[in-house]
């Protein structure tokens, strides 16, 4: 009985029955990490003694909390008190978090074992985890390939069974895209559903924290733990959290599934297209009605994103100046200290985006770039609002291609940005999105993800459709050969 390959729900059942202890579960996952992480490189920081101590504490208790004893990996972008928090960046080398993010407090209250910190693209900027200052994480399905990004470490950990579940963050696809490339479930909640307090900000109006899990049912469970209004986050919505497991198995009969014609583009990988179309066929057989819809401003989404996200990021990252925390490079004066600290501490992708964002906001260019992008963003939101009048859920590919090889796109940032073409609009509109496995390419065997997109706060519908599809297909049972 390999505990580390099981799901939250399976383990929870055993833990509650007393068939297995929390320590055994955590030990099993730690053993797995020991066995494979030198190849996968998903983890940046691990404290086995600390994890086992947490597990022991759970064993001493009643184990009735929703995640009691479940080891969960945390993307290095979330503050966990006493743990390092580097966001994959040299500029935060040696920095220790002095407070818990709200989602971490929620996990603790739910009895989760906070396992360790996973690798990511620096400050969440990237689609491959190649932008991490600490080296790249490998895709468990093919160690020569990227796991996706920016939450590549969390995705690889879950897909490689180095964690039962993980938390990541999604600004333009950073949960969904790696989930698709590694064959796990990745959910980006509606903006405002999950607290951002303690999430190191990349783009404030786009960021959300979300779960990586092995199954849709696990995602529903984990989402229920981290969702909810937070008085420390002014953008968090004061609405009650529904029971995400209540209607999970209601099926898709009577639901309308929208197919955006702009998302099936020439140049898309044929196997990806075929898998996604097959998935749509499956949904039809399950009783869903497929409707063609249009999202006319799709073509502008990447441009809008790369102006707004970089503009917000240029301000959010200004605090990294070597004054109060992080690594400092001392200069002759204040100006030089700032410039050298940031020049040395930030990697090239981060610097590139800060420059673009600063430029988009600067005098003389603000209206043409930043302001115009925010207006087109409104049009993108409207596209979705109109589309959701005709359908309950939109279905699309998550990524245009399966995982590419490490190094293949690093020299072409624009090409890299186009990876996000199917996921980015969801963040711009503030909607919810989920990726789940829908097949593999033939040779090599690489995961393909199906994306479901819902209107704001429609996670119950999203999860219900995903559950129906998952349970009718074998993909979620596949495991990498690692």
């Amino acid at each position: 009985m390999s505990l580390h390959t099981q799901t939250i729900i399976e383990l929870r059942d055993q833990l509650r029955r007393g068939a297995v202890s929390a320590r055994e579960v955590t030990q099993a996952v730690l053993d797995r990490i020991q066995a494979v992480d030198d190849r996968l490189k998903a983890y940046l920081w691990l404290n086995p003694d600390d994890a086992l101590a947490q597990a022991d504490a759970i064993d001493r208790g009643s184990k009735d909390q929703p995640l009691a004893g479940i080891p969960i990996a945390i993307k290095d972008v979330l503050n966990v008190i006493g743990q390092p928090c580097t966001c994959g960046s040299k500029i935060l080398r040696g920095h220790t978090a002095v407070y818990d993010a709200t989602v971490i407090r929620q996990l603790r209250a739910a009895g989760a074992v906070l396992l360790g910190r996973t690798n990511m693209d620096e400050f969440a900027m990237g689609s491959s985890t190649e932008n991490s200052s600490w080296g790249v994480t490998r895709n468990p399905w093919d160690l020569e390939r990227i796991p996706g990004g920016s939450s590549g470490g969390s995705a690889a950990a879950v897909a490689g069974h180095e964690a039962i579940a993980a938390l990541g963050s999604d600004t333009g696809g950073s949960i969904r895209q790696p989930a698709a490339l590694t064959s796990c479930v990745g959910l980006k909640p509606t903006y405002g559903l999950v607290s951002r307090f303690g999430l190191v900000a990349f783009a404030s109006s786009l960021d959300q924290v979300g779960p990586f899990t092995k199954t849709v049912a696990d995602a529903a469970l984990l989402l229920g733990v981290i969702a909810g209004h937070d008085p420390l986050d002014s953008t968090s919505v004061p609405a009650p959290v529904p029971d995400y497991q209540e209607k999970l198995n209601a099926g898709v009969r009577g639901l309308r599934v929208g197919l955006p014609k702009e998302y099936f583009i020439p140049g898309m990988d044929r196997e990806v297209e075929a898998a996604v179309r097959a998935a749509i066929g499956q949904l039809t057989r399950l009783g869903a009605e497929v409707v063609e819809i249009s999202l006319p401003h799709t073509d502008y989404a990447v441009a809008v994103y790369y102006l707004i996200a970089t503009a917000e990021a240029s301000a959010n990252l200004a605090r990294f100046d070597g004054v109060r925390y992080g690594a400092r490079v001392r200069g002759a004066d204040v100006l030089e200290t700032y410039a050298k600290t940031r020049g040395a501490g930030f990697g090239p992708e981060v610097k590139r985006r800060i420059i673009l964002g600063t430029y988009a906001l600067s005098a003389g260019y603000h209206d043409a770039y930043y302001l115009r992008a925010q207006k087109v963003r409104t049009l993108i939101r409207r596209d979705f609002e109109q589309a959701f009048q005709k359908c309950d859920v939109i279905v699309a590919p998550t990524t245009p291609t399966p995982a590419f090889k490490i190094g293949e796109r690093v020299d072409d940032p624009l090409q890299m940005y186009l990876c996000d073409i199917f996921t980015i609009s969801v963040n711009l509109a503030g909607n919810c999105g989920l990726s789940l496995p829908c097949g593999f390419t033939a040779q090599p065997k690489l995961p393909i993800g199906l994306q479901l997109i819902g209107p704001a706060f429609a996670e119950p519908t999203l999860l219900r459709v995903a559950q129906a599809y998952e349970q009718a297909t074998p993909w979620h049972t596949e495991r990498p050969a690692l």
Partner: protein, 97 residues
């Protein structure tokens, strides 16, 4: 020679952002950013007449908290994270006006 609208004045912008760049970086970024600006220029095709910019992702207003004092953090914790501190202060090279 008319100014190329897609050519970012890298020195100026890097200064605004307090980023020290090597010459190699400047050249590389200038070229890459130029490509990006050419790409984002497609936004000028869109008719945005009468369209309000999206300032916030959620339509909330008046998110306010009561004026209650709470305990502050132990200064030792934060000074420990400081690259340089002395006499309870965060130390920087001398600030000159």
């Amino acid at each position: 020679m008319p100014e190329d609208p897609n050519q970012i004045n890298i020195d100026h912008v890097a200064h605004l952002a307090r980023l020290e760049l090597t010459d190699a970086e400047k050249n590389k970024f200038a070229a890459q950013l130029k490509d990006m600006l050419v790409y984002v220029a497609k936004l000028s095709e869109v008719d945005v007449t009468g369209v309000e910019p999206t300032a916030h992702a959620v339509p909330l207003t008046n998110v306010l908290r009561p004026d209650e004092a709470r305990p502050s953090i132990d200064p030792a914790l934060v000074l420990k994270n400081a690259p340089e501190s002395a006499r309870g202060l965060f130390i920087m090279p001398k600030i000159v006006e």
